[in-house]
């Protein structure tokens, strides 16, 4: 079977007035089905641009991008919307939940844009997705009645509800405290182990190190592509080791 994501010499150039800004200068890599990958890089490195392209929110200036066998760079806006709806589950730093809708309604939203499902079918699937992220008892709550971690779980349930090929998370722990971040990362890990392809865009090493593969972007180019190093092998990991131990303890029972 072909790769879930195949990116070949992907380029993206913006016009800022009269100046061309080369946000991506030819990036190539493949991600296989079931991988757990982090894209890392400092701000301005082009990782957001890369994420927007992978998320089909933007189209490349040059290069090729195949998602689950679809030549994304050749699709028109309506098809890109359909691809986002069916193939990609988005998780955002700011959750982006509709404030006036319940958790259940928020999670069911992508299914409305998918079409072809009755209202009760959509709500059943949304309920199942909420159960999957451990929020089966909070379905009727509105976002402001939930904690940050719970809100992010609702957002993850919304990303899962349409059975996407790819879970694409943009700084998913950026608005959460460290303990809640751990729980969310654990959830991503669990989802990955159940077969989901997970791609996390982050600038936090702590987050990146819980994935299994690291793509490092700098100045619009892929500078390193390597398996995520073991915990503690880099100095920056020492101070978080207590939290990590708890994380692994929780997982191992």
């Amino acid at each position: 079977m072909s790769a879930m994501i195949r990116v070949q010499d992907l380029r993206r150039t913006y016009m800022m007035g009269e100046f061309e800004v080369h946000a991506l200068r030819g990036v190539s890599f493949e991600i296989q089905r079931g991988e757990f990958v982090a894209i890392m890089g400092p701000s301005g490195s082009g990782k957001s641009t890369l994420m927007n392209l992978i998320g089909c929110l933007d189209t490349p200036t040059a290069g090729r991008y195949d998602l689950d066998g679809l030549p994304v760079e050749r699709l028109d806006p309506a098809l890109l919307a359909a691809v986002r709806n069916r193939k990609i589950g988005f998780v955002f730093q700011q959750f982006h939940l509709l404030a006036r809708s319940s958790a259940l309604e928020n999670v069911a939203l992508p299914l409305a844009y998918r079409g072809g499902l009755r209202a009760h079918e959509r709500l059943e699937r949304a309920a199942a997705a909420l159960e999957r992220v451990g929020l089966g008892n909070r379905m009727d709550h509105r976002p402001q009645e939930l904690s940050g971690g719970q809100q992010q779980r609702v957002a993850i349930a919304r990303a899962l509800v349409s059975d996407p090929a790819l879970l694409l998370a943009d700084e998913p722990t950026g608005a959460l405290d460290s303990r809640t971040s751990q729980e969310i990362m654990q959830l991503f890990g669990d989802l990955n182990r159940s077969g989901m392809t997970v791609l996390i865009v982050t600038h936090e090493p702590d987050v990146a190190h819980q994935t299994r593969r690291l793509l490092e972007i700098r100045d619009g180019q892929l500078v390193r592509d390597h398996p995520t190093p073991k915990l503690g092998t880099e100095p920056s990991q020492q101070r978080r080791s207590v939290g990590k131990r708890r994380y692994y303890a929780a997982r191992s029972h």
Binding site: G69, D76, A81, R84, F92, H96, R114
Partner: protein
Amino acid sequence: MQPAVIEIAPSDAELETEIDALLSGGISWSETLGFALATLRTNPMRTLLTTLGVLIGVAAVVALLAIGRGSQESITASITANGANLLTIRAGAASSAGIRGAIGEGASLTMADADALAETSRNPAIALVSPEYSGNAQLVAGSTNMNARVTGATAIYAQVHNTTLAEGEFISAADVSATAKVIVLGANVAETLFAEGGAIGQQVRVNGSQYRVIGVLESSGGTGFGSLDDGVLVPLSSAQRSLFGARAVGGSWSVSTIVVQARSAEEVDAAQSQIETTMREEHDLALDGSDDDFSVINQQEILETVTSTTQMLTFFLAAIAGISLLVGGIGIMNIMLVSVRERTREIGLRKALGAREQDILLQFLFEALALSGVGGLVGLLIGSAIALAVSMTGLMTAVLSWDVALLAFGFALMVGLFFGIAPARSAARLDPIVALRYE
């Protein structure tokens, strides 16, 4: 929106199938409408205030058009209440050109004219001829006195003017030939002079001479031109000879008007030309075309003039009300623009989750249409209520009709569409990447 066509290698049938599957889905319009209504429900105060502009506009349009149509119908009714197919002949030229201005100036109409017009052989299109003589006189009954229009009439008058009696009888041909001192009272006159009723048989002094009341007319209710409620009728001969002294040159008696009824609506024009021919012969006017010394007023022409005047006034008022509807539309546009700005992140999210441009466009268009539609509907009800209330005061009549209701409601929807399209387009065109980061 560009067509969803991409270049696909012909061999790649599997990909083609997948593209077809992607294109087959999409949100239904009813779901989109649901999103739009849900948004409006979350902010009821704003929704209410926004609909108010359209509501007031539609209510004003509906009420004004209903009142306009009502007045037109009541004017038409009061003109035709006189009886249909009438032509009125007066002395003097109708021409406004030159110095021949005032009606009644110079030559007069006489009984001989009326007799000539009544000759069926000369005027086959004429059914009835009613010579009349009117003037004002002082009426006294007991201690009550009043001034009223006194019309000298023949027995034919009742047929021509469709008068109906509340009690008693009308002036007969015998009364006219006998110059009888009898009088028929209009409803209001009877009410004034004989407040306790029992007018029949009572005496009324008309300019000093005693007249016996033989009938009281039914109230016609209106205040229109043809209403006789405030007048009285006496035999034509009595009016001419004893009340007003209307002896004409040459020994005949003069009349102030001759009212002619044509045999049918189709024969009104024929009747008019026969009247003109007969009158010119009677008045010895040269065939070569010296000016008429009489004028013929065609009732249908009056009707048309009055109708077109009221219609114009009505549409003028409705147009002013329509302007307030436009202002309401601008209010909708304003709120929609604010709403698009406030919900930028929501729009970005919806796009990220798979909403196409057309889905967002439709959602915001539905919001604008719902605002104007609800405003239109409630405005329709309130406008109808105002029209009914006006009717119930009795001062004016208002007539509601479906075409006016549909017109006003349709116009409200058009206003919503027109003013909703720009905000909806700006929402649909938002770049999801920018919109998601919007603070």
